[in-house]
């Protein structure tokens, strides 16, 4: 709970920085699924050309979805293609993403407690997951008066280190589809 408060304070203080400041995040993301929360919200930055972006997200998994879980995710994306499909509408068909998620809850460990386990008893960390995926998004320009420059919608397919490890030793039973996870989200490109 403390950790969540700290991050909320950081986010709020981010907003309170003056509008001229380059520190102000210019990306607001709301995502459904994708292995980082039932719903997650985050703030981030993208560069001028809109090719690179990085965000910090907070994800929540409610008890009725096998939670409660509170997950923080650092996510980076790259948009190599930017196709003008219509006036003010752009399609970014294939955008690689990488992200690291951190599950903060009890029973999830960054490093296994030495008081309980000998060294290397388990080889992975249960709190940290690294993920890799690909997004496809459509961005719509917004009118001058709007608080955001554009809004984009995306779908994403990703997987994580432990699923890849499961797949690699079981290529007969598991397919790449089996280890894939979907998400859908909306991004606001803030002014």
């Amino acid at each position: 709970m403390k950790k969540i408060l700290i991050v909320l304070i950081i986010i709020v203080s981010g907003f309170s920085v003056s509008a001229q400041s380059r520190l102000l995040p210019n990306l607001l993301t709301v995502q459904y699924g994708g292995g980082i929360g039932w719903m997650s919200v985050g703030l981030g930055y993208k560069n001028q050309s809109d090719k690179l972006n990085v965000s910090l997200l907070y994800g929540y998994v409610p008890p009725n979805q096998g939670g409660r879980l509170d997950i923080f995710t650092l996510k980076a994306g790259y948009n190599p293609f930017n196709i003008n499909v219509y006036k003010g509408i752009r399609w970014k068909p294939l955008n690689p993403v990488v992200f690291i998620s951190y599950t903060t809850n009890k029973y999830f460990y960054t490093s296994w407690p030495g008081s309980r386990y000998p060294d290397d008893y388990y080889w992975w960390s249960s709190a940290f997951r690294s993920h890799i995926g690909v997004q496809s998004s459509i961005a719509f320009n917004l009118p001058q008066k709007a608080c955001a420059r554009s809004v984009s919608m995306y779908v994403e397919m990703s997987t994580n280190d432990l699923y890849i490890s499961s797949y690699l030793s079981n290529t007969k039973y598991l397919s790449l589809y089996d280890i894939s996870v979907l998400s859908a989200g909306v991004k606001l490109n803030l002014r």
Partner: protein, 269 residues
């Protein structure tokens, strides 16, 4: 403009086609809306409903299926080709990382068995939200049932995961379960970590061994965790302890219980 709608419609369609369960909240979520439930109890019910007049119990004994899906499929195929098997026992460690997805994958494979399968909880199944998932999908970690006058006592012996606090295994519960009762002639305890292992609570080892020693009709104590078959009398007190092979070893033990004797045959797959 029309093109856009096509693209949106197409993406949405693909997402819907993939089904909601692909929108995973977290690999660490204990369950989702489609996670199966009460697997152990449903399989026990199926076993007890078997109209089998013969008094031999034939058990396929395996364990540690953790991340051995390809081999587990071969095991299922082999078991399904055999006759007169009553049920299959997994001596814990269904999963490697304690993840919901792993529990669902292995259940998907073992659900293909023509006989019921019943599983103990292993130390890997406890990790993270694993204990919650095991309880949600399989049921409680300490349970028992009586089949052909033999009582099978499945219980949690993963002491290390509980800081060796003296509560795992639950000795009071176990002692209660080992009491003589009408209709029960023999007793077979099943758990993951054997008492002679470093992951078992040292303070409970002697009382555990003693409880089994003093149990009337105790046939054999079944365990996993070591990944290879180990059939021994470690306390030289007449109590036989048997460790299962892990699923990747591609050999399981067929246990035939008849007239107070346990006969063991390795079967490769």
């Amino acid at each position: 403009m029309k093109n856009i709608y096509y693209i949106i419609a197409f993406t949405l369609f693909i997402s819907l086609l993939a089904g909601c369960e692909k929108f995973e909240s977290s690999p660490n979520q204990a369950h989702d809306n489609n996670t199966p439930r009460h697997i152990n109890q449903r399989n026990i019910d199926k076993l007890l409903a078997r109209a089998d007049q013969d008094d031999t119990i034939r058990i396929v004994f395996t364990g540690d299926s953790q991340r051995y899906y390809d081999e587990a499929e071969l095991l299922v195929k082999k078991v399904n080709s055999m006759e007169d098997v009553d049920f299959l026992i997994v001596a814990g460690d269904l999963t490697d990382f304690g993840l919901r997805q792993e529990f669902e994958w292995i259940n998907d494979i073992f659900s293909g068995l023509t006989v019921p399968y019943i599983s103990a909880i292993g130390n890997h199944d406890v990790i993270g939200n694993g204990k919650k998932t095991f309880e949600y999908m399989f049921g409680v970690d300490n349970f028992s049932f009586v089949y052909k006058r033999t009582k099978f006592i499945f219980h949690n012996t993963n002491s290390r995961e509980y800081h060796f606090k003296g509560n795992i295994p639950d000795m009071n519960w176990l002692a209660q379960e080992c009491q003589p009762q009408p209709g029960v002639e023999y007793i077979v305890p099943v758990s993951h970590v054997p008492p002679y292992d470093g992951d078992f609570d040292k303070n409970l080892e002697q009382s555990y061994a003693q409880t089994l020693r003093n149990t009337k009709g105790l046939l054999i104590s079944l365990h996993g965790h070591h990944h290879h078959t180990n059939d021994q009398y470690p306390y030289e007190d007449g109590v036989r302890y048997l460790n299962s092979n892990a699923v990747d070893k591609r050999v399981f033990m067929l246990l035939e219980i008849y007239n107070g004797k346990v006969h063991k045959t390795p079967v490769s797959y």
